[in-house]
């Protein structure tokens, strides 16, 4: 029987945990990849009890190419297993810090774009060969239009989104579905203390549920979460520059 394998990149984040739980409940096999091995081992215990067929933990670091390459061999699973990838990786230093220390751009580009893109490129043959599976990558609405307050981070997210647009077209003939998720506000450690709640703020759980259901249904494309952000960003993208520039965002 063929197994469904989900590799989870950035598996220590609460969003990744919520998503992995959805996959575990359907009996998938999981490979958790990230930096904090001890933390992922604890999450692995949770996912096993919740029904995952198996859970492996492997090191993967956005700043460390060899670990990214090594993921390919960790995912060298039998040819009839369906291989899926979920990526929740990113970091957002304050724009002012980046302006004070421009070297930080390497980290921003690596964690929000290059490391994920590199890993996907390495996995391309394995994905294509199976003629099935999904690649789900979390991005941000910040990539939709460059804002004065956050354009370094935003530009890395834009690169990721453009990569995924092309990847979707590249993998579609092979039957592999690419899902690009643009996040508004999510209640995570990154946003702790910054958000008040309300309809624009989503929880990791509702995000995980929606995105997993979307991917499990075999859909591809771009989704905004929460969905209200689709409309907000449609407006923001289309505002005349003169008005956009004056917005306090």
């Amino acid at each position: 029987m063929s197994r469904r394998v989900w590799a989870i990149l950035g598996a220590s984040s609460p969003i990744a945990r919520a998503f992995a739980r959805e996959a575990a409940a359907t009996g998938a096999s999981l490979v958790l990849a990230g930096r904090d091995i001890a933390d992922m081992e604890r999450t692995a215990l949770d996912l096993r009890v919740r029904g995952a067929a198996s859970v492996a933990v492997v090191p993967w670091d956005a700043g460390d190419r060899p670990t990214q390459k090594a993921l390919v061999s960790a995912l060298d699973v039998p040819a009839n297993d369906v291989l899926n990838l979920f990526v929740a990786v990113g970091s957002m230093p304050a724009q002012a810090d980046i302006e004070a220390r421009p070297e930080l751009i390497d980290e921003v580009v690596a964690s929000n774009y290059a490391a994920t893109a590199f890993t996907i490129l390495c996995l391309l043959p394995a994905l294509e060969r199976r003629r099935a599976g999904s690649v789900v990558v979390l991005g941000s609405v910040a990539g939709d239009r460059g804002r004065a307050s956050n354009f370094v981070y935003g530009s890395a997210k834009a690169a990721m989104a453009t990569f995924l647009q092309g990847l979707r077209a590249r993998l579609e003939p092979a039957g592999v579905k690419v899902v690009s998720v643009k996040l508004g506000f999510v209640d995570t450690g990154m946003t702790w203390g910054l958000l008040k709640g309300g309809p624009l703020v989503s929880t990791p759980e509702s995000l995980g549920r929606r995105v997993f259901a979307f991917a499990a249904a075999g859909k591809a494309g771009e989704i905004y979460h929460s969905s209200l952000w689709f409309w907000i960003m449609a407006i923001i993208r289309n505002l005349p520059y003169a008005i956009f520039r004056r917005l306090p965002i």
Partner: protein, 447 residues
Amino acid sequence: MKWTKTTLGGWGRLPRFACEAARPERLPELNGAFDGLGEGTLIAHGAGRSYGDCALNENGRVLVMNRFDRILGFDPVSGDLEVEAGVSLRALMDVFLPRGFLVPVNPGTAFATVGGAIANDVHGKNHEKDGAFGSCLRWIDLLLPSGETVRVSGDSDRALFEATQGGVGLTGIMVAVGLRLTRVPSNALDVRETKAANLDALLAAIVAEGARARYSVAWIDALASGPELGRGILETAVESPVGLPSGPRRDKALPIDLPGFALNPLSVKAFNALWWSRVPAAGRSRKRRYDSFLFPLDAIHDWNRMYGRRGFRQFQCVVPRADGERALRQLLERVSASRAGSFLAVLKGMGAAGPGPLSFPMPGYLLALDFPERAGTLDLLADMERITRNHGGRIYLAKDSCLSADGFRAMYPRLDEFRAVVERVDPHRRLGSSLSRRLDIRGGGKP
């Protein structure tokens, strides 16, 4: 770990206090929880489902624990379960009920976390049969103010293990917990509803049915008076051998605060009359899923907004059985005379006390009522405290926001025992909450 200035309230949205809050995501962060505390105090916060101030800390630090929500192991032969303390009872029911296992004690909300359930040693509708939460507890990994984490159980530091049950977070931060689940035949209960026309009839029914059924709870019309005083509907339930289809939940949410006038004596009276006529005179029986029977209010998220922005207070007491009927009559008369507009009130039988020195239960009757915050509410609650105290009863800290320090000392006679344990593990008084200061739980007027 990021400490951020914020304002927190309990489920009653009253009182609300400024504090610094952090929500650790990983163990090393959690282990450093006491770092940089200085002269201040720290208290753990679960899901914030306590009504009053036990998880609040005015001008102090609050550690939000709900990211520690992982299941660490389960043995389907013994039912032994190991979890992080921030996991909710709802998650545990979702995962284990389909496999035929149940956390044997559940309070009226499944959003509560395991840590919160231990810290208040919560009770369910089966307290007389199964005891409070501590009865399914095997061990606790407790992070002490010294920065060290110890595993406490009945075999290792029994005094600390017991003091933590009902210890309102003052003995340390619970990190992980060992529980024992029980097997159940299905996901449903056979529920019987019986009407009782007045308090005497209701108490008789509680005693008679309490002997038969595992679960028992009565909803009373707190506005009824005269010959109808204490009229209510008793719900009893036993495990059902055959379950119900486990469809998805259809939860709703109350999206806004209702205006303060929405709950007034007229609207509440109309609601209570409607609710009373819902059940036929001869009673009725039906099968219900555990979640719908145990957590009826959870189906409406944020229902506390019904009371509006000003919030509300819950009064919950237990009175000893011997004098129980007289005590309840006095309490209900005081409430119905005040026309304070309490919605449905809850009355149920209670069993034996737990092992913790601050254990709430005692064999007798439990009464719970919600009151919107109005002029006169505090006077009403002060009177009810006095009546409870005069009859040897006790007020429940999980629900409380206005008990007096004096009343607390009288109602919790094992306080000195509790103080001794806490003094040993927290000599520098680094743990503290708004509740612990209000009730002077540590003694000497400090945290």
